[in-house]
Each structure stands twice: as structure tokens, then as C-alpha cells.
């Protein structure tokens, strides 16, 4: 049974979602798929977070307490992998699924069946990854960066499962990205020119491009790991003419754009929320677009800043240092634009705004530590210490994750048709804000004082700092349970949400009722 959207006004039954489990298994609806992505990513966040709790519990005191070093390394590795590929990326894809068609006035994604396929690959991929932890010899224990030859000759048997699960995750991401990019290029409502698109759409457009460009490179990297380990090749083995550092070049050629994949959509979210709650138009729309593009462009030529200690020639070190530093300029433009948007606005502090404001400040702090890391001679001291861990958790947790929370609060009324519980949400925010800083701020000190990352045990001078960090970690983890509660409560009912619950919000998504109808724009809206 198939339908032409234009005729659908006459088929009323199609406005309702089909019911039962097959609705979710067979769906081609962008909202259903978006919801599945979002729930999946939240579950993965809890799983990855639980692993972080194992890490923090082990590091609570010096000495080995709970887990042995080999298992600790597996926790670190799988924590990183799950958070990056299982929590943040699917959350953004989920948001794109829900919001991009609504924001550009399209009935659905361009390729709805493939959309469903992209999603359903993920549970299988992560089931395989998690299952590998239970194999003889354990799962991946070589860090989420899986440097060769630790991941080849010296890894446990299960590595092949890791490799193939990354392969299918990559397939999922690429298909998801193709869908987003084609939707944006091809399905904008009449009058929705590129330079009128909401920034969330713009940032995702560029993110999708990054994804299509670098996920295949990751696939290449894992393939070479596979053949080096199992088929006797020597891409990463000097005896055969290869080089372990080659692995790092390939990995980071993917890896650095990857970290921007995890932040550009955040920029889009923040650029929607700050104007809404400042009741003022976004400052410098076009410079925001150009800055995003500049960040994406630069992201391809900075990868080796993760490799300053590998012994590259000085000329290369200098090139990568300068290029990396340059990224601060367009990122700064964004931060300044947000501040200018708030300036002389009429600001109110609902939970989405609170998370957005926390994002701006904490992300900027993470950006500053990034800039410090970019300074090659000093990076020799910082590299592979907790200073780096502090840096990337600031940009990822209080950056990407906070922006996802902000987005969830901002759009929950549109998704569910109900307002979330503002009091509980405020509790969630303040608990998260305080604990996230207790968790990650002291890590800077541990790193500067010389604590290496990826160690299950440490010398005595780091004991106090780690204790504080762990307490912050448990508190932050528990705070997220409040979020779970708020979301479930909101899905089940509450105060009815109007079509546009936020006074200052702009965009097509607020022109349709809440909850948004199953098919949004069967007749495209006119954008002027």
C-alpha cells in the first residue's frame, strides 16, 4: 500500500500512526525513526555512562580495587566508543530526523525506507560490540582510537568483531547522512532558500558532508587493522615497510572531523534556542553559516595535532599547530554572535535556555583548553594526560550532551504535545551543572600535575583530585536519572502544549500543532 502525499488529504486514516510493534520495525516515518534514534542514544548514554562509573569507581582510590587492568582498559575503550558512536551521533541523527523536515517544510525525509534501515543497523552494531566484551580474552582494550599495533598484533581475539561492528556503524552513519543532505538539498519548501534555512539545518547540512567524507576513511582504517591482524599485511608494521604512525594519520583524518561532527549540530541547536529566549533575532546569521563552513573546511587539515609526540618533522608540526589555532577564529565568531544575540534582548531562563547558556560558557572553556593543546611545545606536556580528558569532556559532555539536553527540552512539547515539568527540569539542570564541573574541572589539575590517561591506578599525589572527580561523576550520573524521569513524565501527559510554547521561538516547526501531526507538511508551506 502506498500513498502519494498530495492525495493524502483524502485518506484520513493515514494521519494516524499505525500501531503495534510493526509500526516501529517497518516505519518510514521520520518522526518515528527520530524517536527511535533518540531513545536508542539515550540508552547508549546510560550504558556508556555506567562504564564511566566503573572507571570512576576504580579510580576513586589509588590501588586496584574493583577491576583488573585489562578490564579497565576495556571499559575505557568501550565507554569512548559508545559515547561517541552510540550516544552523541545517533542523538543528533534523531534530532535531524525529527526537526529537519519540519524546519524546511517537507513531508518527510527524502529516502524514508533507507532512513529506517540506517536506524535499525545500530542496535545490531552495538549488540555485537557489547557482546565482544564477554568473549574469551575480552573486548576491545586499545582505546577508542585503537592505535596499531596494540589493536593488531597485540589485541585479543575479539578484534574482528570490533572491526565489523564499526563497519556497519559506518554504513549506518553514511546512509543517515546521505538522507539528511539529500533532504536538505531537495525538499525545501518553496521560498526556503539556502540562506533562509534555520541554522540547525545548516549545521547538519555541513555535518552530513563531513560524515560522508570521513566515515569511509574510518572504514578503511578498520579494514587495514583487520588485514594486519588476520591476513598478514603490514600497513602498520615497519618490518614490512609500513608504519604504526600511518594508522594514526588515517584514524585522525577521520577522527578530527569526527569531533566537529559531534559539535556542529550543537551550534545549530544553540543558535535556535538563544534567540528564542532572548526574544531577539540571531545576530550575524550569515557569518554563522560561513563560520560553520570554515570550521568544517579547516577540520580536514588539522588532524595531526593529536600526534605531536609521534616524531613528525618540525615543519609538519608547525603547519598543524597553526592550522589548529586558526579554528579558534570561526569558533570565536560563533561565540561572539551568541553573546551579541543576548545583548539587549529580553531574556528569560527556561530550562532549554539554561542548558544553552551553560553550553556557551563551558564549551568555550573546553575550547580554550583545546587552544592550549594546539600549542605544540606545550602539548608535549599535556598530551595523553587528564588535561586532554578534561578538554574533551568539556566540549563533549558540557558541550554536545548539554546541547542535546537543551534541544530535548526545547522540542519536547512539540514532540509529545505536553509541557515537561519545569521544576524537575530545573533540578536536572542545576544538579548537572554543578556536578559536571566537580567531575571535569579538577581533571585539568590532575593532568597538569602529570597524571596520564588510560591508567587504572595512579601515584599518591593524585589521590585527592581523583576522589573529588569520582564524587562529581557519581553525582552527574545520578542527575541524569532526573532527566529520564522528566522525559517519561512528559511523554505520558501533563499540561497541554500550544503550537508555539516559547514566546520568542521562530521557525516552521512552531506553525504546526503540538504534538506535530504524523505527516507534517503534506502541502508545502510558502516561505517568504
Amino acid at each position: 500500500m502506498s500513498t502519494v502525499a498530495g492525495e493524502m488529504d483524502h485518506h484520513d486514516h493515514h494521519h494516524h500512526a499505525p500501531s503495534g510493534i510493526t509500526r516501529w520495525l517497518f516505519t518510514t516515518n521520520h518522526k518515528d525513526i527520530g524517536s527511535m534514534y533518540l531513545w536508542f542514544s539515550f540508552i547508549m548514554f546510560l550504558v556508556g555512562g555506567s562504564m564511566a562509573m566503573v572507571i570512576r569507581a576504580e579510580l576513586f582510590q589509588p590501588g586496584l580495587q574493583l577491576v583488573d587492568p585489562h578490564f579497565f582498559n576495556q571499559m575505557t575503550t568501550v565507554h569512548g566508543l559508545i559515547m561517541v558512536f552510540g550516544a552523541v551521533m545517533p542523538a543528533f541523527t534523531g534530532l535531524a530526523n525529527w526537526m529537519v523536515p519540519m524546519m524546511i517544510g517537507a513531508p518527510d525525509m527524502a529516502l524514508p525506507r533507507m532512513n529506517n534501515w540506517s536506524f535499525w543497523i545500530l542496535p545490531f552494531a552495538f549488540a555485537i560490540l557489547l557482546a565482544s566484551l564477554f568473549m574469551e580474552g575480552g573486548g576491545p582494550a586499545f582505546g577508542w582510537t585503537f592505535y596499531a599495533p596494540l589493536s593488531t598484533t597485540y589485541s585479543s581475539d575479539s578484534t574482528a568483531l570490533f572491526v565489523f561492528s564499526v563497519h556497519i556503524m559506518g554504513i549506518s552513519s553514511i546512509m543517515g547522512a546521505i538522507n539528511v543532505i539529500v533532504t536538505i538539498m531537495n525538499m525545501r519548501a518553496p521560498g526556503m532558500t539556502y540562506m533562509k534555512m534555520p541554522l540547525f539545518v545548516w549545521t547538519w547540512f555541513i555535518t552530513a558532508f563531513l560524515l560522508i567524507a570521513v566515515m569511509p576513511v574510518l572504514a578503511g582504517a578498520v579494514t587495514m587493522v583487520l588485514t594486519d591482524k588476520y591476513f598478514g599485511t603490514s600497513f602498520f608494521d615497519a618490518a614490512g615497510g609500513g608504519d604504526p604512525v600511518l594508522f594514526q594519520h588515517i584514524f585522525w583524518f577521520f577522527g578530527h572531523p569526527e569531533v566537529y561532527i559531534m559539535i556542529l549540530p550543537s551550534f545549530g541547536i544553540i543558535s535556535a534556542i538563544i534567540p528564542a529566549f532572548s526574544r531577539k533575532k540571531l545576530f550575524g546569521y550569515s557569518s554563522m553559516v560561513y563560520a560553520t563552513a570554515a570550521i568544517a573546511g579547516l577540520s580536514f587539515i588539522v588532524w595531526a595535532h593529536h600526534m605531536f609526540t609521534t616524531g613528525m618533522p618540525v615543519a609538519a608540526e608547525i603547519f598543524f599547530m597553526y592550522a589548529t589555532m586558526l579554528i579558534s577564529v570561526p569558533t570565536g565568531v560563533k561565540v561572539f554572535n551568541w553573546v551579541a544575540t543576548m545583548w539587549r534582548g529580553s531574556i528569560s531562563f527556561e530550562t532549554p535556555m539554561l542548558f544553552a547558556l551553560a553550553f556557551v560558557i563551558l564549551f568555550t572553556i573546553g575550547g580554550f583548553s583545546g587552544l592550549m593543546l594546539a600549542i605544540t611545545p606545550v602539548d608535549f606536556q599535556y598530551h595523553d594526560t587528564y588535561f586532554v580528558v578534561a578538554h574533551f569532556h568539556y566540549v563533549l559532555v558540557s558541550g554536545a550532551i548539554f546541547s542535546i539536553m537543551a534541544a530535548a527540552y526545547y522540542w519536547l512539547p512539540k514532540w509529545t504535545g505536553y509541557m515537561y515539568d519545569e521544576t524537575l527540569a530545573k533540578w536536572h539542570f542545576w544538579c548537572s551543572l554543578i556536578s559536571v564541573n566537580v567531575l571535569f574541572f579538577p581533571m585539568h589539575f590532575a593532568g597538569l600535575a602529570g597524571m596520564p590517561r588510560r591508567i587504572p591506578d595512579y601515584s599518591l599525589q593524585f589521590a585527592d583530585i581523583n576522589q573529588i572527580v569520582s564524587i562529581g561523576g557519581f553525582a552527574f550520573g545520578l542527575s541524569q536519572l532526573i532527566f529520564l524521569w522528566v522525559v517519561i513524565k512528559c511523554v505520558r501527559g501533563g499540561e497541554k502544549a500550544p503550537a508555539k510554547p516559547w514566546e520568542g521561538a521562530e521557525g516552521l516547526e512552531w506553525t504546526v500543532p503540538s504534538p506535530a501531526p504524523y505527516h507534517t507538511f503534506e502541502t508545502p508551506p510558502e516561505v517568504k
Binding site: M1, S2, V4, A5, G6, P18, T22, L25, F26, T28, A110, R113, M114, W117, W120, F124, A125, I128, S132, D157, S158, A160, L161, F164, S165, H167, I168, I171, N179, I181, V182, T183, N186, M187, R188, A189, P190, I212, A213, P216, V217, G220, A221, T223, M224, T227, Y230, G232, T233, S234, F235, A238, G240, G241, G242, D243, L246, P313, T523, P524
Partner: protein, 293 residues
């Protein structure tokens, strides 16, 4: 663009995506276990059974999915705009494939220009050569690795050159077929498409012969160092793409015989032809960088 929106086609729910996901999941899980068993020489076969099961599921999925798709297309449900979406989707997919090959070309360039040279003492690696690999001299093709493995190198005359010509010609014949389709000249379409398929098969056969020659006469194997590695990985992945492309061409051929495609509705054909051109371009790069230079 404005009016086209009205006709936008949203497919009803479909079982194929989840079947495809199950298929990919089984393939990943099965392939993983197959490889692990192989390494431990402990194959009891269930890994590869899962793998083949997964492939079977994928094949069923592809047939089912494409059947639905073809039926929809034949019954005129598709709009121009959907055609645009498919075409753009295909182009981005090809772009992702290019990036996949780029990773291996990158490895090749790095090995040639940096790794092997450094092992030979270039740049800031004088001590590398002196202390760790005394006597090793950098050269390309790397017929003797630092570890001492020796192998022959593949020349570009002979088979590789013929293969290059064959693929380039096949790109042209494929184009002729396409032109035939657009002019609604079914005979031109059928004949040139058939020739393209035959050329593809010949290419694959010769490639196989070349591998046999490399293994048996040159001692050039997958594990004979970075030269063999990049050679086999690049040509091997390319060969897999040619195989896939040929299969796609054959399916197109069958559909053409069944009377599918019209001059203005033939996305599947066009996608296949793009894919074929892409495979051809990759080969030309391969020929230049792997064989000639």
C-alpha cells in the same frame, strides 16, 4: 520546484529495512567469527554459516526491496523530485566510495613517500636506518622489505595495460548504451549494454589471471610487505567493485530485456552507469599510481 512538492511520494511502511539490518548484523557477526576461527585454526563452521546466512538474508532483502521499488516506479508513483533525490543520493554514495579508496591511496602515498623513505634514513630518521634497519635501502616498488621478505614487482605492460584499455572502452560502450536509452533506441541500448557486460567479465578474468601470475611467478602475495599490501588491497577492492558493477549491469540488462526504463525514467540504469564510470576512474588512478609510477 514548487509544484513538484505536491506530488511527493512517501512510501508506506516496509519490512525490507529491518530485514536488511538483520542481514548486515548477521554478516558482521558471522564475518567476525569466521575470521577469528580462521586465525585460531579452529573453524567449526558456525561463524561462516552465520555469514552466509546473513548474505542470503541480504539477497532476499535486495530482491524484495528492489521489486517494490520497481513496481512503484513502473506504476508511475514517482515524481521528478524523487528522481532528483535518488540521483543525489547515488552521487553522495559514490563520493563516500571515493573517500574509501582515498584511505587506501593515502596509505600507498604515505608508504612510498614517507614510511619507506624514513626506514631508509630520510628526513629525521637517520638513526632509524642506522640502528634498526642497517643495510636497508629505500626503493619503490619495495621488492625487499626491511624485515627481509622478497618479492617481485608488477609491471604495467601486458595484462594491466590491456585491462586499462578494456575498462576505458567499457566506459564508452556503457555511455553508448545510455545514449541509446535516451534516444529510445532499444537495440542500441541492448547491444552496447551487452558488450559492456562482456568487457567487464573479461576484465575480471584477466585480473584473476594477473593474480595467479603474481602469486605463482612473482612471489608477490598479500603478505609480502607494504608493496604487496597496497597492491592487493587497492586492486582487490577495485575488483570487488567491478564485480558488483557487472552484477548491476547484468540486472539492468535483464530489466532492459523485460522492457523496463523509458527515456525519462531510468534512475536505476543511470545509477549503474555512474557507478561503472566511477569504477573506471578508480582503475585509471590505480593504473597510474600502482602500476606505472
Amino acid at each position: 520546484m514548487a509544484q513538484q512538492h505536491e506530488k511527493y511520494y512517501v512510501p508506506a511502511s516496509s519490512p525490507w529495512p529491518i530485514v536488511g539490518a538483520i542481514g548486515l548484523g548477521l554478516i558482521a557477526f558471522g564475518a567476525g567469527h569466521t575470521v577469528i576461527d580462521m586465525k585460531n585454526e579452529a573453524a567449526d563452521g558456525w561463524g561462516s554459516n552465520v555469514l552466509f546466512g546473513g548474505i542470503a538474508v541480504m539477497i532476499v532483502m535486495l530482491f524484495g526491496w528492489f521489486r517494490d521499488q520497481i513496481n512503484e516506479s513502473m506504476s508511475g508513483l514517482y515524481s521528478n523530485q524523487l528522481g532528483h533525490s535518488y540521483r543525489q543520493g547515488m552521487s553522495w554514495f559514490i563520493f563516500s566510495e571515493i573517500m574509501f579508496f582515498a584511505a587506501f591511496f593515502g596509505a600507498l602515498f604515505y608508504a612510498r613517500v614517507i614510511a619507506v623513505e624514513w626506514l631508509g634514513g630520510a628526513s629525521n630518521n637517520a638513526m632509524t636506518n642506522e640502528v634498526l634497519w642497517p643495510g636497508f635501502e629505500a626503493h619503490w616498488p619495495l621488492t625487499q622489505t626491511p624485515g627481509g621478505t622478497e618479492s617481485g614487482a608488477m609491471g604495467w605492460m601486458g595484462l594491466p595495460l590491456y585491462n586499462t584499455i578494456i575498462l576505458i572502452v567499457s566506459s564508452v560502450t556503457c555511455h553508448f548504451a545510455h545514449v541509446g536509452l535516451e534516444k529510445n533506441n532499444r537495440k542500441q541500448l541492448t547491444v552496447w549494454l551487452g558488450i559492456t557486460i562482456i568487457l567487464g567479465c573479461i576484465f575480471l578474468y584477466l585480473q584473476g589471471a594477473e593474480y595467479v601470475h603474481a602469486y605463482e611467478e612473482l612471489g608477490l602475495t598479500l603478505d609480502s610487505g607494504i608493496y604487496g599490501n597496497t597492491f592487493y588491497m587497492l586492486t582487490g577492492f577495485h575488483g570487488m567493485h567491478v564485480t558488483l558493477g557487472t552484477l548491476m549491469l547484468i540486472i539492468m540488462f535483464l530489466r532492459v530485456i523485460k522492457g523496463h526504463f523509458t527515456p525519462d525514467n531510468h534512475f536505476a540504469f543511470q545509477a549503474t552507469s555512474w557507478y561503472w564510470h566511477f569504477v573506471d576512474v578508480v582503475w585509471v588512478c590505480l593504473f597510474i599510481f600502482v602500476y606505472v609510477l
